[in-house]
Assembly symmetry: C2
C-alpha cells in the first residue's frame, strides 16, 4: 500500500502534528455476514496527533460527537494505547484530536474508522515503525471497546481499504478480494436509531441447514464473481438469506428502498453493518447515482431524514491528509 | 473444453459405437457442503453407445454392479432419455452398455459418473448437437434417480472436470474454480456401507449461527486461496465445522485416518460425499502419496479392507476413450 508523504501540520502550541483520514465502511455485505466488508471514500473521521511534553496519551479535542476523553474508554484512544504499549512507547507524551465526521450508530463503522485512524496516526507520528497491515490487531482491539467483541469486518476495510474478507478476527486472518473495474457503492443512512447490540440480540442463534448451504454457495460464487469480474454472477450471489430477513424490520421502508435500488439495476442491496444504513453495489457510477436518488426518494416521501453517499470502493483505506 | 476426436469402436453387430470414460468425484469438500466438488483421474465408469435398428433406448449390458436395465430407472438411462427427449431423438434406436468400474455407495459419485458418461456418449453418438456444458442439466436429472434430489455437486466435476462450485443445482449455476499448480488428491475408500440417504437424515436441520459464520468465512477464504494459489490459506480454510462432526461416526477410524493424513502435511482432509471415502488435498503428489500410505496403514492395522486413489485434479471430466 502506497502512502503519500506526511503533511506536517502545526498545532496551537507550535508543535508539529500528523493528520489522517479514516473512511467509513460497509460490513455484513449480503452473503458475507461478519465476514465481508468494503471501504467508502466518504464519510470518514479525521484524527490528529502530535507530541506533547506531558508524558502519556491524552485526548485533547473531540468534535462531531460525544465520546469519552479517557483514552482507555475511547476506541481511538484504546487502539492508540495498545499500539504504544506494543512499541514500548507508553510513556511518550502524545496529544490526540478526534474529529468525527460521520454519524454514530449508522451501520457505517464509525468506531472502526476512529480506531483505524488512531493506529495510523500514531504509527506515522512515530515515523512508521510498523507496516500498515500490522496495525490491524491494535485497531481491532480499539474497536472492541465500542462493539464489545473482536470483529475486524469494519476495521479491516477502513484501515487497509478495498473489499476485504475476514476469515478470523482473532488471528487477523484478513484478505483483500479483487475488485472489478467499475464497482461502485451507494449508501443511504436514514436517521433512525438501531443499536448494534440490539440488532445482534435479535438474531436467532440457529440457522436452517438449507439456508446455510444457500448462503455458503452464494459466498463462494460472489468471490468467484469478484475475481472474474463477472457482474452477472455477483448479482446472483449478492443475496442474504439469513440475516437480512431477521433485521429488515429494524429499518423503516427497507424493502421499498431495496426495490427502488433494484429497479435502477444495482447488483445487490442489503443492510450495511447492523443498519440502519442500506448499501447497494453497482457496476458503474451512473447506476450507483440513479439508485441513490431512487432510494433517497423513498425516505423523502415518508419524511424521514437521510444522508446519501455514493462512492467507488476506496482502495486506500486510512491515509495521511 | 477441448475433446479429442471420437474413437470409433465396432460392436458385435458390426455397428460403430462410441465409448466414454466418466470419472469419480469428491463432493462436500470440507467447507463446501453441497457446493464444492472436484474430479479424480480414476476410478470411473465406461459407457458405450451405438445405434441399433430397434427404436428407443435400450441398456444391453451392465458390468461391475447390479443396476436396473430399465432406462427410466437407471441413472445413465434416465439421463440419456432426458437428453434424447430434448433433442427430439426419443425414437432413435440406441443401445447402451454401462461398465461400472468404481464402487457404489463409496462417496465418490458413482451414480453421477454414470449419468455424466451417458449424456456425453449420447451427445457424441449424435455428432455433438450440444456443448458439453449444456449436457449438465440432463446428467443432473439422471443422477436424481439415484440420490432422490437435484444435486449437481458430483455431476458437475464428473462431467466438466476441475474443481467446481455449484451455486444452484436447479438452474445449473455452476462455476469452475482456478486450480493451483500441484494440487493433488488422495482418496481412501474403506469398504463399509454408508447410505447417502442415512448420512443425510443424520444431519441436524439447524446449525448454530457461530458455525455458519465460520464455515462461510472458510468458504470465501478457500476460494481466495485457490485463485491466489495460496496454499497456506487453503490449508487454514479447508475445514468443515458443520457436517463432518455429525458424520464422522459413520466412518470407522475417521479421526485416526485424518490425523495420519495431517501428519504427512496435507492441506485438508474430510469426508468425501457422504462417505465412507475420505479425501485429502495436498500441494504436491509426494505429500498426496505419503498421506495415502499413512491413511491406508490405519485401515490395514484394523483389518478393514480399503482402496486407495491418488490423483491430480482431473481437469477434463468425462472424455471419449
Amino acid at each position: 500500500m502506497e502512502m503519500s508523504s506526511p503533511t506536517i501540520i502545526t498545532s496551537t502550541k507550535n508543535k508539529t502534528g500528523i493528520k489522517v483520514f479514516a473512511p467509513a465502511s460497509v460490513a455484513n455485505v449480503a452473503c458475507g455476514f461478519d465476514v465481508l466488508g468494503f471501504a467508502l471514500e466518504k464519510p470518514g473521521d479525521e484524527i490528529i496527533a502530535r507530541f506533547s511534553d506531558e508524558p502519556g496519551l491524552k485526548i485533547t479535542k473531540i468534535t462531531g460527537g460525544k465520546l469519552p476523553y479517557e483514552p482507555v474508554k475511547n476506541t481511538a484512544g484504546y487502539a492508540a494505547l495498545k499500539l504504544l504499549d506494543y512499541l514500548g512507547e507508553s510513556g511518550r507524551g502524545i496529544e490526540m484530536e478526534i474529529h468525527k465526521k460521520m454519524p454514530f450508530g449508522s451501520g457505517l463503522g464509525s468506531s472502526a474508522a476512529s480506531a483505524a485512524g488512531a493506529v495510523v496516526v500514531i504509527n506515522e507520528l512515530l515515523r512508521r515503525p510498523l507496516e500498515k497491515r500490522d496495525l490491524l490487531e491494535f485497531a481491532v482491539l480499539g474497536e472492541s471497546i465500542a462493539s464489545g467483541a473482536i470483529h475486524a469486518d469494519n476495521v479491516a476495510p477502513s484501515l487497509l481499504g478495498g473489499f476485504t474478507l475476514v476469515r478470523d478476527s482473532v488471528t487477523n486472518d484478513v484478505h483483500r478480494i479483487h475488485v472489478p473495474r467499475g464497482l461502485y457503492a451507494t449508501v443511504i443512512y436514514p436517521k433512525v436509531e438501531v443499536l448494534t447490540k440490539e440488532a445482534r440480540a435479535l438474531l436467532k442463534t440457529e440457522v436452517p441447514l438449507k439456508s446455510v448451504v444457500k448462503q455458503n454457495a452464494n459466498m463462494g460464487a460472489f468471490i468467484i464473481g469478484m475475481f472474474n469480474s463477472d457482474f452477472d454472477l455477483i448479482r446472483r450471489s449478492l443475496v442474504d438469506v439469513i440475516i437480512e430477513p431477521q433485521r429488515a424490520s429494524l429499518i423503516p421502508y427497507f424493502y421499498e428502498v431495496k426495490e427502488a435500488a433494484y429497479t435502477e439495476g444495482v447488483l445487490g442491496c442489503s443492510i450495511s453493518g447492523s443498519g440502519p444504513s442500506i448499501f447497494a453495489l453497482s457496476e458503474n457510477s451512473l447506476t450507483a447515482e440513479n439508485a441513490g436518488l431512487a432510494m433517497q426518494k423513498i425516505y423523502q416521501e415518508h419524511k424521514i431524514e437521510c444522508e446519501l453517499f455514493i462512492s467507488p470502493i476506496n482502495m486506500e483505506g486510512t491515509i495521511l491528509c
